[in-house]
């Protein structure tokens, strides 16, 4: 179906049809039954979108307070710059206070949370699951990952989730209950936002990337929070116990949710581990040498065979499927790799 036809279809669905577009669409529809079925499917989706929930609303409190004053001053329209800067300063200070509070709550939650009942959700190799938390937060759990949370953590001061592996979060906004993702020596704190945390035990780096909103990350070595904004990513090197921040393309943050595999200068042992998790296979690398080899590649919904084809070419290796195990042979060390 080309763009023109799509225009005609959408025009009919939204009752904005012209004689010309109607004629074109009708001509296409009578061509065959397949076209008619396709149109019906699009119509089903179109109708469904009408029921979409309204936009996430702003917080009424601010307006509520202002209208209960007798002499209101507009927040923005008439305020001079100096006053605005003062406000930003205040906002910054509040953020600081919030973080301290969050940290404090987190500590006390850690001390007192043990007897509570914890729920465990895990996604095995080759699986990806979506979990709805008690506070309506949505979590996409990547292959070979698990999260734990208290059965009713909405009653806690802190919404604490423990993660092993990788997950993408769309956190429901709640300014009085900070949401904390705790993963091997790293804590990510937010109110409500979407972000990705990757912390596989077998990988040297832990990564937090933000899609929307703002998150604060603290590590067991460094209790000062590093703030991340959309399109920023924090990489924490476990061996060196060092964190650094880089900018990224925002579409990469949750790309794995849609089945995409991205490697960026990833050591080969981690590449193989990622493939094992994603495709639920075993990879035997006893007969190959890939010391120091790194891979930068992007696979969009490719089968394991297609991925292997690319690896074979780029590394000069051979791979053989025996049952659920892939044997890799050949290759060479890349101690002087680019």
């Amino acid at each position: 179906m080309d763009n023109k036809l799509w225009d005609c279809i959408v025009k009919r669905l939204s009752a904005e049809e012209t004689a010309e577009s109607a004629a074109m669409l009708d001509a296409w529809l009578i061509e065959n039954r397949g076209h008619q079925e396709e149109y019906l499917k699009i119509q089903v989706l179109w109708k469904l979108t009408e029921k979409l929930p309204a936009q996430e609303q702003l917080d009424f409190e601010i307006v509520g307070e202002r209208i209960s004053e007798t002499n209101p001053t507009p927040q923005l329209t008439l305020v001079d710059n100096a006053a605005r800067w003062w406000k930003y300063g205040l906002a910054a200070a509040m953020t600081g206070i919030f973080l301290l509070t969050a940290l404090f709550y987190y500590r006390s939650a850690q001390n007192s949370a043990q007897p509570e009942e914890w729920v465990l959700k895990s996604a095995g190799a080759g699986k990806m699951i979506r979990v709805l938390l008690p506070d309506s937060t949505l979590v996409w759990l990547n292959s070979g990952s698990e999260i734990r949370y208290e059965r009713d953590f909405r009653n806690n001061k802190l919404r604490l989730v423990k993660l092993k592996g990788e997950a993408y979060f769309e956190v429901t906004h709640d300014s009085s209950h900070p949401f904390v993702v705790s993963s091997a020596g790293m804590n990510t704190t937010v109110y409500g936002t979407s972000f990705n945390v990757r912390a596989y035990n077998t990988e040297r780096a832990m990564v937090v990337a933000v899609n929307s909103g703002k998150v604060g990350v603290t590590t067991s070595e460094d209790k000062r929070a590093v703030f991340l904004l959309p399109s920023e990513k924090l990489i924490y090197d476990r061996e060196k116990a060092e964190a650094h921040k880089i900018s990224i393309s925002s579409s990469d943050v949750d790309s794995w949710v849609s089945g995409e595999l991205i490697f960026e200068q990833t050591p080969f042992n981690e590449v193989f581990e990622a493939l094992e998790r994603k495709y639920n296979i075993k990879i035997n690398t006893e007969k190959t040498n890939y010391t120091g080899c790194k891979l930068t590649a992007r696979f969009r919904n490719k089968s394991i065979n297609e991925v292997l084809k690319t690896l074979n070419l780029s590394m000069n290796i051979r791979s053989k499927f025996v049952g659920q195990t892939i044997y890799i042979e050949g290759g060479g060390s890349c101690s002087n790799n680019k």
Binding site: L45, P53, G64, S68, Q75, I129, R130, S251, D254, V257
Partner: protein, 175 residues
């Protein structure tokens, strides 16, 4: 000062419109906090003026457009030239282990997909499908041509359709 009941009604009104208006204001001012302030100012004004416009939806959107454009005029360093991010966010067929079956699940999924549309396209789509503005009204509010509105809607539907096959027939085999 209004009665309690008035205040409750007003809050309902606010909750109904603030989100979409915020996104609309963001289209012009490109800053979350500024956009939120513009929306809040508008509602405070509405409360104290006690005007009840005939066409509330039209009034709210027009008022936000005015205040956003005024704001931009006042702080000139923000220009009105916006970059069209037409390169679609990469997201292909999603295969969730748990099936998307109930309608609410389907809506959650659609909501997720729509959030992946480029900003402008998303706004056009929501204004049409959620708020029910016509092509011409959207074109005027966003200062773009009707043709562009059509194009955004048609591309949005293509994007959604390509990624929602499993919503329509669910028996697709897993990869």
């Amino acid at each position: 000062m209004g009665s309690n009941k008035e205040l409750v009604n007003f809050e309902v009104l606010y909750k109904r419109w603030s989100g979409m208006l915020h996104q609309y204001a963001l289209y012009f001012v490109k800053d979350e906090e500024t956009a939120a302030s513009l929306v809040n100012d508008l509602f405070v004004q509405l409360w104290f003026n006690k005007t009840s416009p005939d066409n509330l939806k039209g009034y709210l959107f027009r008022a936000i457009k005015n205040s956003a454009l005024n704001y931009l005029k006042q702080y000139k360093n923000n220009s009105l030239t916006l970059l069209e991010q037409d390169d679609l966010t990469a997201i292909s067929d999603l295969s969730f282990a748990d099936e998307v079956t109930s309608e609410s699940e389907q809506l959650v999924f659609l909501h997720f997909l729509i959030s992946k549309l480029p900003e402008r396209r998303q706004l056009v789509f929501k204004m049409h499908r959620i708020e029910g503005f016509s092509y011409a009204e959207i074109a005027e509010l966003l200062q773009i041509s009707v043709r562009t509105v059509e194009d955004h809607l048609s591309k949005s539907m293509q994007f959604i359709y390509d990624r929602s096959q499993h919503l329509i027939h669910r028996k697709l085999t897993e990869a």
